[in-house]
């Protein structure tokens, strides 16, 4: 039956592989932190145990192990000890099983380091910042970059000769240094823009015009630090695609046929747009990973910072939670791109109809 619906089979096949990738990724993300030598309880104990007697320290350590679900408990909730008097740790498999079960119930666990904050709270509080920081930059950078690139491809001449190398130069700037330079010049020296924070300190988040204005104002420098470089990159890509298309036979043929200029342009940019669109989808998918350095410089409490502190403290639940989100978003983005190309690119469609790759 499926043989008669190549599209459906295509989607299912692709989807199947992505599902496999998802499970393997989740398992790896679970395993990796535990392979490291740094035990989260050891880290906490090392930080906070000065001056305690050996007895008290041992009690404390065991209470942490118990709270974090890292040791086996008996029926009454007491920790089981082995012959040497040390608490018996739960096996990785057992922990994994527990993790999967809890995740299906929507409970991503409790953070070790930010105890007793729940992982879902950590993520939900950080994600808006990350998205607010990156989504406008990515989308606007994409639009403006592609427009400029298309222009350069179409017009060529002086505009292209100056603009193109400049775009490449912009793209070579390390964006974090660029951010720091912007802060230095526009905030410290000129005082035009604020140097950090998501909104003015004295305001409370609300939907008032004043708050939104303040947020936009604080957003200016971080936005520009990423946007300019992103736009430059997009422009370069679009320009190459545009020039390539402009030189193709079908364009020449269409011109000889006397088709209207605007129509030819429409065909050209439809073709050139395809790889750019896939790039956009992928960027949006990976954006959830956070622009860590930008978040650090501007003190935006986004997902990048949350992940960094979690990894530094080997905070298993938060690492698992954040990587789960990243995995999900990236894979969905990739999957959508595959499907998108499948539908939009006639060559792929034709390939499907002919049966198999």
């Amino acid at each position: 039956m499926l043989k008669q619906h190549p599209t459906a089979r295509f989607i299912l096949q692709r989807g199947g592989w992505y599902l496999l990738t998802f499970f393997v990724a989740v398992a790896i993300n679970f395993l990796l932190p535990r392979l490291g030598s740094a035990n989260p309880v050891d880290i906490i104990m090392g930080r906070s145990s000065s001056g305690l007697s050996a007895e008290a320290a041992k009690e404390k350590e065991e209470s942490y192990l118990k709270e974090f679900g890292l040791v086996k408990l008996d029926a009454s909730g007491k920790i089981l000890h082995n012959a040497a008097g040390k608490p018996i740790k739960r096996s990785t498999l057992e922990q994994f099983g527990n993790y999967v079960l809890m995740t299906f119930h929507g409970d991503l666990g409790t953070s070790f380091q930010k105890y007793p904050k729940k992982v879902t709270d950590v993520i939900l509080q950080a994600v808006p910042w990350t998205i607010a920081l990156q989504l406008p930059t990515i989308v606007l950078g994409w639009i403006i970059g592609n427009v400029l690139g298309a222009l350069a491809a179409y017009k060529r001449g002086i505009f292209d000769k100056i603009f193109f190398p400049f775009a490449i130069l912009l793209n070579s700037l390390p964006f974090f240094v660029f951010g720091m330079l912007l802060v230095y010049y526009f905030s410290v020296v000129l005082g035009w823009f604020p140097a950090m924070g998501g909104y003015a300190g004295e305001l409370i988040p609300s939907f008032s015009l004043e708050f939104l204005g303040s947020a936009a104002y604080h957003y200016a420098l971080p936005f520009f630090s990423i946007f300019l470089i992103l736009a430059g990159g997009q422009a370069i890509g679009m320009r190459s695609m545009g020039i390539y298309e402009l030189g193709t036979d079908y364009v020449k043929y269409a011109q000889w046929l006397g088709l209207k200029e605007s129509r030819i342009l429409a065909y050209i940019f439809r073709n050139a747009m395809l790889p750019q669109l896939t790039g956009l989808a992928l960027s949006i998918g990976t954006m959830i990973g956070g622009a860590l350095i930008t978040e650090m410089i501007f003190s935006y409490p986004g997902l990048g910072m949350a992940m960094l502190t979690a990894i530094q403290n080997n905070d298993y639940p938060v690492i698992q939670g954040v990587t789960l989100i990243i995995t999900t978003c990236v894979l969905i983005a990739n999957f959508s791109v595959d499907i998108l190309i499948g539908f939009l690119d006639p060559r792929v469609k034709a390939g499907l109809q002919m049966g198999g790759n």
């Binding site: 070579s172 390390p174 974090f176 990976t286 350095i293 992940m307 198999g356």
Partner: protein, 277 residues
């Protein structure tokens, strides 16, 4: 040869190549021209003046020495990462793109796995297990092993386009095995493309290293351009307008990466005549 002549006619290539060679020379011959002395020679953040062309850092060390050492390290990491990433990416891309079918699907899963697992996680966890902590080599290895995914994708696209070409079919009819076809008929076509990929990977390796150092996860025992920038940031040089702490390093990174991008773009122009102006 004709290719080389074409390249040399392209102004972008000439500029890019010369800039990059300049950078390379500065790194390789720098210590001979200017004695690299990492001892304290001046006050903390002494401004550029007599004897110290680019001033001193927070520990009173000569910036030119630091920059030379840093450039060497950054180029080393860039090349190491570039070689590893290109090799990995190309092999996986060619094999997957050419073979197709479920081999391609498995390799896709493999590629996606590497995209999905954050580089940060791998970086911190692996460096935590090594006694020597984070060295330049380790960072180069990790950047290379996590940054190959896009080259695999691009090479795969090229390889699968080549698959249906006539000369491949001819080779198949002749009875050549897959491996032989890949090496004798596919690879030569892709060589120029792979070289461009390599250049991009080196550029991205240099940028990645400085990004990693800026987070504070850079090499722990040596200088690199990223470490210089991180030190400048950590010591508040930015807020005090101590431009010699971060501007020279930024310029060097930007120009080196810029030169690589120029080379790449000009090569693109040569291999695809339509992109030439």
């Amino acid at each position: 040869m004709k290719m080389l002549r074409n390249l040399l006619k392209n102004p972008m290539f000439v500029i890019g190549m010369s800039l990059f060679l300049l950078s390379l020379l500065a790194a390789l011959l720098g210590p001979i021209v200017h004695k690299v002395d990492l001892n304290r020679v001046a006050e903390s953040y002494a401004p550029p003046g007599d004897g110290l062309l680019l001033g001193a850092d927070n520990l009173g060390r000569d910036y030119i020495s630091l920059l030379i050492k840093g450039l060497r390290s950054s180029l080393y990491v860039g090349f190491l990462a570039g070689i590893i990433a290109t090799t990995f990416g190309t092999l996986i891309g060619i094999y997957g793109g050419f073979k197709g079918g479920w081999v391609d699907d498995i390799l896709n899963v493999f590629t996606n796995l590497f995209i999905v697992i954050p580089q940060l996680v791998i970086l911190i966890l692996i460096s935590a297990s090594f006694k020597d902590g984070r060295s330049l080599t380790l960072i180069g290895l990790i950047i290379g092993c996590t940054g190959w995914t896009w080259s695999a994708r691009s090479v795969r696209a090229q390889a699968s386009a080549l698959k249906s070409r006539d000369h491949i079919s001819l080779a198949r009819i002749n009875g050549d095995g897959t491996l032989a076809i890949m090496i004798k008929h596919v690879l030569p076509y892709l060589l120029s493309y792979v070289f461009m990929v390599f250049i991009m990977q080196v550029a991205s390796g240099i940028l990645s290293e400085s990004a990693i150092s800026m987070i504070g996860l850079g090499p722990l025992d040596t200088q690199s351009l990223g470490v210089i920038l991180n030190d400048a940031k950590a010591n508040g040089a930015l807020g005090d307008g101590i431009w010699w702490a971060f501007l020279p390093a930024t310029v060097i990174i930007t120009l080196t990466v810029f030169s690589l991008y120029l080379i790449n773009t000009s090569m693109e122009g040569v291999f695809n005549p339509r992109l030439r102006d």
